[in-house]
Amino acid sequence: MLERKTVSQTKTKRSKISKETKRQLLHYMTLSRRIEHRIERVLYRQGKIVGGVYVGRGQEAISVATAIHMLDNDIVAPTHRDMGIFLICGVSERRIIAQYMGRKTGVTQGKDGNMHMGDLKHNIIAFVSHLGDNVPVAAGAALTFKMRGQDNVAFCYSGEGATSRGDWHEGVNFACVHKLPIVFFINNNQYAYSTPIELQMPVKDVADRAPAYAMAAEVVDGNDALAVYESAGRAVDWARSGKGPYLVEYKTFRMTGHSAHDDAGYVPKELFEEWARKDPIERLQKHMIDAGELTAEGIESMENEITAIIDDAVDWADKSPYPDPEDCLKGVYHEGR
């Protein structure tokens, strides 16, 4: 049986991560933060968003520094807190904002909302609300890679809460039995809606579940973008080289309620304060400044660039039409030409 590595045993070879990679990480993390901020704290309050808003504030390093390892034809099954994945996979900010506004130009053309978006052209499998349902589906994608002899990897995301679901168990077990090229990235943000982890599972770490499947696993600080990057690289290499599934648990914290309407009054204030000090974006900025890889001006120009991207996207989305009512009927079944 494989030994599980812990954070302290994980040697992050930060020196090997290029300045350009770090800049990319910072860019996508900041972009995720800002775009979600605009959606949740501005557009939602202006009544421009249709339905609920779920954000990954404070957890941006996980989506970004894992998905950045995706190669052509890899596939990803994100959750509702993985904005960074959509951005990295090349889904445009315009289509994303339009998605939240229920417009025809949104990723699902108004058929579904918020993070329930997928696009196989971008190798993204759309998430459904039933947590854990994406796990067997991602395993099926990985099975196909194996059947076809492709050296691709399925990137599969779950929160710690989803690990209580039967689909999660069945999917992980299936992937392990068939030794599939899949990495299970667990975003352990410590709350499933209002349910704290001790009411969710009787073990300390999600990674404690991995030995039940004889699966390689490790626990990593999810707010340290470079540690996330390193560990994801190891995990993806492992899966890509045919060694089977790998689970990486990222410890982080949900810096918001479950969704925009939820004030998270059930979370002790001290926890928010403690985790605010571990903010992944500020940490990466500080690291890069200390290493002489970033300046205050550099941060400002990145912020300005991102603001311009988002302004454009909002403007574009806001001018986009709503879908035609009759579009409701389209796409239930295959529509041959």
Partner: protein, 348 residues
Amino acid sequence: MSTAKPSTSKEYRIEAPDGLDLGKHQFVELYHYIALNRRLEERLSILYRQNKIVGGLYSSLGQEATSVGSAYALADGDFLAPMIRNLGSYLVRGVSAKDFVAQYLARECSPTRGKDGTQHFGDLSKGLIACISMLGALVPVMAGVAMAMKHRGQKNVALTYCGDGATSTTDFHEGLNFAAVHRVPFILVAEHNQYAYATPVSMQFTIENIADKAPAYGVHGEIVDGNNVLAVYDATRRARQMCIEGKGPVLLEAKTFRRKGHAEHDPADYVPKKLRAQWEAKDPLDAYSRFLLDQGVATRSEMDDVDAKITRELELAVQEVLDSPFPDKSIADRDVYFSARTDGGSHA
């Protein structure tokens, strides 16, 4: 986690665990249940070949010690949900051989009055809950039974079984996790009989022991020789004690082997002959008989008396059932819902 691997010496011998709290009467009673389990299934097999059985017939040949030993460790007020290969567990709880014959022959006098067959029956007055065909489904249900016991402050436990195959299901995972989060008095006996229908365990999971899953749920796990009725009894008794002390749930893995096919129609050609022979040599009934003789607990003639009694009981049961009617069609649409006429509220 303690392990008790079956002996590999030529003659499979079982030993009594240290501190076993059984007297002569109980040793013989255990023999009675195992032998009855075996003979009843043999008799059912004959009825199957005579085309008297309605539907399928499922055998627990080779696994009788697990059913009998675990059920025997339970106390009054405990609840038990046997699976399809736990005929012996029902017997220990006082279900008669006739009930089984009647179930398999789909007669009016059967526990389900012909509405369901096989081992798909329960009796709340005996603390028995019926299984359904969906494997693993009993795990959350029995977690709920245990939750109700905890809620009421009862010093009781809920026990059910699952095969190696059922460990792959949603209900196994959700049920065990749920039971563990709520620390309810629940024992899950995982019968590692090595085949799920035609699927060997290597295609079922990637670990060697089902008990290896216990840490993933933060519960106590233990492996026991499922062919040693005394070891199963003792391990279940200890698991029960842990549950009563609030240290549950417990995942108890019984290593055993399914000696017949999935059901009577299945010759199980997919099982290597050598593997089958290995386990035939570990027959739980033979091993227990040898133990009783070797230890001087019972004589051959005492066991013969038990066997003769069983034979008489079975012949009587079969005859009675064969002479009894099938259910009248008028009951077919009854009891889908509660009716004051037929149900006075039988809840425990």
